[in-house]
């Protein structure tokens, strides 16, 4: 069957969208697969938007903004870099990261715009259609994307994302600047933990399970699963359901 990738682009009003217009004015031809959503700034793109796109069956998503330093809002594109960076780390965990790019195209780069679009379209073409369209993988990949979506909806990662730039550049509330490396060490652990926790929540959404059962399903060491369960329990998201013989079973009590 013939496959034409569906590409979605979030273009910032001031640079990339203008760059796309310039490509038009210059009559530069590029692949017809792209559908564009104009936003005021690449920093406006909540990772959730991207996940919604993937959940709806988009094969590849591009976020294009001004070059670093050129942002109309001074540092919106730095924020975008952080947001997409965190999303990318999560997508890597489910093997989906190649379907997303963040790039910079200025208002004067009509050529570059066409080139970026063409290259990404070809890449997505090579990757093949999004697995979400395949019946075999649909449930699994939908679950995984939803796990990431809930991890990113929760306040914890959002606080990290929202405060990272100021903490690593201007300094935190104590006026101390934390190096990006040090910050990312904490953030990366949080990304992984929240991914696993949301995965656990999904696995015990309707049916309670014991730690070894969950461990087997998500392929995480049982002692780590227990630690996550205890954390979720303290957040009021998990509770004991019942105890059968020596098997305590846990269930998600998260409100949807």
């Amino acid at each position: 069957m013939d496959y034409e990738p569906k590409i979605l682009g979030f273009l910032c009003n001031w640079c990339s969208y203008a760059g796309a217009d310039l490509a038009g004015v210059s009559r530069i031809q590029y692949a017809p697969n792209l559908r564009v959503i104009r936003v005021m700034c690449s920093g406006r793109i909540d990772p959730i938007f991207i996940l919604e796109g993937f959940l709806k069956g988009i094969d590849g998503i591009m976020v294009l903004g001004c070059h670093l330093g050129d942002c109309h809002y001074i540092n919106g594109n730095y924020e975008a870099e952080i947001k997409i960076g965190v999303l990318n780390k999560l997508l890597k965990l489910i093997g989906f990261s190649e379907r997303l790019i963040l790039d910079w195209v200025s208002a004067s780069e009509g050529n570059r715009f066409a080139q970026v679009v063409n290259e990404f379209t070809e890449k997505i073409r090579d990757l093949g259609p999004s697995p979400i369209k395949d019946k075999k993988y649909k449930i699994n990949i939908t679950d995984e994307l939803n796990v990431i979506k809930s991890a990113l909806s929760d306040i914890r990662l959002r606080v990290f994302i929202g405060r990272k730039r100021s903490i690593i550049t201007e300094g935190n509330v104590y006026g101390e600047v934390i190096s990006e490396e040090e910050f990312d060490k904490i953030l990366d652990q949080a990304i992984y933990d929240e991914y696993i926790r949301n995965k656990i929540l999904l696995k015990i959404k309707n049916k309670s399970k014991s730690v070894p059962e969950i461990s087997k399903e998500i392929r995480v060491e049982p002692n780590r699963v227990l630690e996550h369960i205890i954390c979720l329990k303290s957040r009021g998201l998990v509770d004991f359901d019942k105890i059968i013989d020596i098997y305590p079973k846990f269930i998600s009590i998260k409100e949807e």
Partner: protein
């Protein structure tokens, strides 16, 4: 030098709290310096306490609240002592208080900040079994209930500041130095748990299913990470077979820790029992060398653990643990009673870790210029366990030697009691009493009710529709005013409540917020300050018993909150002002019993200027200690007793009555009258007094005729007789080549099902003395468990080093004493080594201590209870060891249970300290709510 009527208490655990409460209630200003962010100490981490299985936090929390609210106690959290100058009576202490990055006065403890904090850190309170935020409260019942930022973990994102509705968070707050002036210092810093990580053979930190006893305590706790379900860390399953290994970091000369940690045998048994109570399928096994259940009613607890709960005890010291790699189960190797070596698999291993000196011990010793002992604990006086090497600085609890909670509480009161003597001239100089306006007369007014409804941040407001409840409250009969507050308990709301009372002429108040158990008295104080009688108040619990428990049913919760408010409004409409009666206090005390405890208590009170009647039934003072020559540590008891008697006899405020008997006691706290008959001439007299201290002591058990042939052969003697020979008549030992001591005579049997606590030490003391006089005498000690708790273990080791032989016998197969052809023999039968026969020149029976029969007579006169063994029963075995349930009556010494001299002295000063909380007051207030008889309805 001028004395200062204030005291610094370092450490806010149960010891520090008890000492502070006693002192604050005796007319002194108290500063508690606590290194963590809440008072409560280790006790707040415990699930239950032995031997009563009381919920630890449930009995502790009211004490924390009382200390936190006390007018004259100032709690400095997150603080440490930097420097101290001056001398007894007048010290200047420089306290460093680390920043909480939050204004303690503004924080309401609602916890919103912690929920938005993105940082996760190890929760030390839960012993690393869970995580907490960088902004956190130490535990839910913390006092003061304030959050604090852990600066080491905080990334400074600032989210908590935005979330805090009380505007409490302030990242600019810096550490500060507070300088205070005090007359005395009490050290109650506690201890550190032994960290078993360096003992590689146990695999702690490497094997998931090897945990420490404190971790297990948190696993058991209903407020712990697993909500009380016993779960093992490797896979979240319930461990069917749990092994407890005793003496980890105790009684181990290889690692340089010689002493016994005293509490582990009991807390382990408790943990095993509670585990079994939580889950029937759990099978606990305890591996130990000895079982040291030498406190009051402890042996009975062990017997119950064995018989009722089926806890298995195996006498063995496990030296290593193997892990099964796939199941993460653990293999232990041990020797059975028959001498067979076997391997057994367990699902979870709990290491019963011992107590180490507190990590601040060395530095504190340097700062305060006090000495530590050879084990690194605080060095104390041989007879006064609360006296450090420096005058004006006292110690209580684990900082001086491992001990359990009641002993800590006793020492805490004793330390306070010693301060009482030092600072009695400046009592009541720095304390303040609140000046209150005259109470308004509302008797002719119809009820005018004010209702204040709390949002508690979002704790209530997030579930209950508070504006709707306010609207509803305003419609209720007699309600003239209703409003809602973000935090009704906050300081600014208290001002607001008082203003509203004036503005609307409110004469009854309802607050709908949290629980009356913690907050009723706060609001009562507020309305009293506004001139209302404090009983014209009711609290509707719409948080703990409404919004928190119906989080997902906001409508039903709102309806319930409305009902609760209506109930409270209906109640306050019927309330009338109640009067708190005031009664005068007679500043005198009676002490029953003139032994070491009685004399010590008498002197303590007399030295503070209170007249004492000391009533002794015999014709001389000194009691049983007249028979004791030396302590285990070789301190001369006779010299001490002689001085004590002299001091007692010579003190002009102590009236000694010998050959005395109490005929009646009447009255109540503050105002008792006692009649006695005394002297050979049977003179009758009576006196009035405000308090009573029972110090009647106990007796040595006398073996029955057939018991080990005692009384049938004069080569069979009891331990006190041997002591007498050793110290007064050592020639008698001339022909002795060997002696056999038999322990537990008249103890731990059906008739006396308790341990006499001192006999092991007495036997070792006399054995060592014998060896000192003649090293060639062979000594064998036959025992069931050697119970040389605490630092006494050193002498057990010393005895073995000196060649004294210790052989265990089984309860069901006690040794036999036989005279065969004039020769004295002791026979011992053991399943592992068979039949043994010792030919000996002397048999020494270590007889126990028993409560005199007369105790029941006195108990009737005093209307106080006895325990099953006829010892007096205190108000609460854990937290009120020196009080009777009857107000104004206290107890100490062996009247309470078996104890040695040092312990009796601490108990005596403790009882005196408790008594002074009454004697130091001119008036006592009684509770306003009292019952009365409606004679029309009473049918008699």
């Amino acid at each position: 030098m001028e004395k200062v009527g204030a005291v610094l208490v370092i450490g806010g655990g149960i010891g520090g709290i008890q000492a502070s409460m006693d002192l604050a209630n005796s007319g002194y200003k108290v500063y508690i310096v606590e290194s963590t962010t809440s008072i409560g100490g280790v006790m707040s981490q415990l699930d239950k306490t032995f031997p009563t299985n009381d919920c630890s936090i449930c009995i502790l929390a009211p004490k924390l609240v009382a200390a936190g609210r006390h007018e004259n106690i100032n709690i400095l959290i997150n603080a440490s002592v930097e420097r101290v100058e001056g001398e007894a009576g007048n010290f200047t202490a420089h306290i460093k208080q680390k920043s909480l990055f939050l204004d303690q006065k503004k924080c309401t403890g609602c916890g919103l900040c912690a929920r938005v904090c993105p940082v996760e850190a190890i929760d030390i309170f839960n012993e690393g079994l869970s995580t907490r935020s960088a902004i956190s409260v130490k535990f839910p019942q913390a006092v003061p209930l304030v959050y604090s930022i852990d600066k080491d973990k905080c990334i400074g994102c600032g989210v908590c500041e935005g979330r805090c509705e009380a505007n409490a968070i302030d990242y600019t707050l810096e550490d500060k130095i507070i300088t205070i002036n005090v007359g005395a210092i009490i050290l109650a810093v506690g201890f550190d748990e032994f960290d078993p990580t360096p003992l590689k053979s146990y695999g702690y930190g490497k094997f998931f299913n090897v945990v420490t006893s404190t971790q297990f305590e948190r696993i058991l706790s209903a407020s712990g990470p697993f909500s009380g379900t016993i779960i093992r860390p490797s896979d979240g399953l319930i461990p069917r077979k749990i092994a407890f290994l005793q003496c980890i970091g105790s009684r181990d000369r290889h690692i340089g820790i010689e002493y016994c940690s005293s509490v582990c045998c009991m807390y382990t048994t408790k943990e095993a029992v509670i585990a079994k109570e939580h889950m029937e399928l759990v099978q606990p096994t305890i591996f130990s060398m000895d079982i040291r259940a030498c406190g009051k009613d402890f042996d009975k607890y062990i017997e119950r653990a064995k018989d009722e709960y089926g806890i298995r005890y195996i006498r063995s010291r496990i030296s290593f643990i193997k892990e099964v790699s796939d199941t993460k189960d653990l293999i232990l190797q041990y020797e059975t009673e028959n001498g067979k070596i076997i391997e057994e698999s367990f699902n979870l291993v709990v290491l019963s870790v011992g107590a180490k000196p507190h990590h601040s011990a060395l530095e504190l010793a340097r700062t305060l210029n006090i000495k530590l002992n050879e084990f690194g604990f605080c060095k104390t006086d041989p007879f006064f366990s609360i006296q450090t090497s420096r005058k004006g600085i006292y110690v209580c609890g684990m900082f001086s030697e491992p001990k359990d909670i009641p002993e800590t509480v006793i020492e805490a009161s004793a330390a306070a009691g010693t301060v009482n003597v030092l600072l009695s001239d400046v009592r009541n100089t720095l304390v303040r009493e609140k000046e209150l306006p005259e109470e308004l007369d509302i008797s002719n007014e119809p009820p005018r009710i004010g209702v204040f409804i709390c949002h508690c941040g979002i704790n209530i407001g997030g579930v209950v529709n508070v504006p709707e409840v306010v609207e509803y409250a305003a419609t209720l009969p007699d309600v003239v005013y209703a409003e809602r507050n973000l935090y009704t308990c906050s300081a600014d709301t208290q001002v607001n409540i008082k203003e509203k009372i004036k503005e609307y002429n409110i004469n009854r108040v309802v607050v709908a917020s949290c629980t009356p158990r913690t907050h009723e008295s706060l609001f009562q104080a507020t309305i009293r300050e506004a001139g209302l009688n404090k009983y014209l108040f009711d609290l509707a619990n719409i948080r703990d018993q409404c919004s928190w428990v119906h989080m997902h049913e906001p409508e039903a919760a709102t309806e319930k909150a409305e009902d609760l408010v209506r109930i409270s409004v209906a109640k306050v409409r019927n309330l009338i002002p109640l009067e708190e009666q005031k009664v005068k206090v007679t500043h005198k005390g009676i002490i029953i019993g003139g032994g070491v405890a009685g004399m010590t208590a008498a002197l303590n009170l007399a030295e503070q200027g209170y007249e004492v009647y000391l009533v002794e039934k015999n014709n001389r003072l000194g009691g049983y200690s007249n028979n004791i020559f030396s302590s285990l540590e070789s301190d001369d008891v006779q010299i001490f007793i002689k001085e004590l008697i002299e001091k007692t006899d010579n003190h002009k405020l102590i009236n000694v009555f010998l050959d005395a008997q109490i005929t009646s006691i009447s009255g109540y706290i503050g105002n008792f009258t006692t009649n006695i008959i005394y002297s050979k001439e049977k003179i009758q007299t009576s006196f009035n007094h405000g308090i009573i201290i029972v110090a009647t002591g106990a007796k040595e058990y006398q073996p029955e005729d057939n018991e080990f042939l005692f009384g049938q052969d004069d080569r069979i003697i009891i331990q006190s007789k041997l002591e007498n020979i050793l110290f007064t008549d050592e020639k008698k030992l001339k022909n002795i080549r060997s002696m056999v001591m038999i322990q537990c005579v008249g103890s731990r049997n059906e008739e006396h099902p308790y341990c006499s606590r001192i006999c092991c030490s007495e036997a070792i003391k006399n054995a060592l003395k014998t060896k000192e006089l003649n090293p060639d005498i062979n000594i064998i000690i036959l025992f069931r468990d050697i119970r040389t708790y605490g630092f006494k273990e050193k002498y057990y080791n010393l005895a073995r080093d000196k060649g004294i032989i210790f052989l265990r016998f089984n309860e069901d197969k006690p040794p036999e004493v036989k005279v065969i052809n004039e020769s004295l023999n002791v026979l011992l039968s053991r399943s592992d080594i068979g039949e043994l026969k010792f030919n000996t020149d002397l048999v020494v029976l270590s007889t126990g201590i028993i409560a005199p029969k007369e105790n029941s007579d006195l108990a009737k006169i005093l209307k106080v209870p006895l325990n099953e063994d006829n010892f007096f029963l205190e108000a609460h075995v854990k937290l009120r060891p020196s009080d009777f349930a009857t107000d104004g009556v206290f107890l100490c010494g062996t009247a309470r249970g078996t104890a040695n001299i040092k312990e009796s002295i601490a108990q005596a000063i403790s009882a005196a300290s408790r008594a002074v909380t009454i004697l130091s007051k001119d008036m006592l207030k009684t509770e306003g709510i009292t019952s009365y008889i409606d004679e029309k309805k009473c049918i008699g």
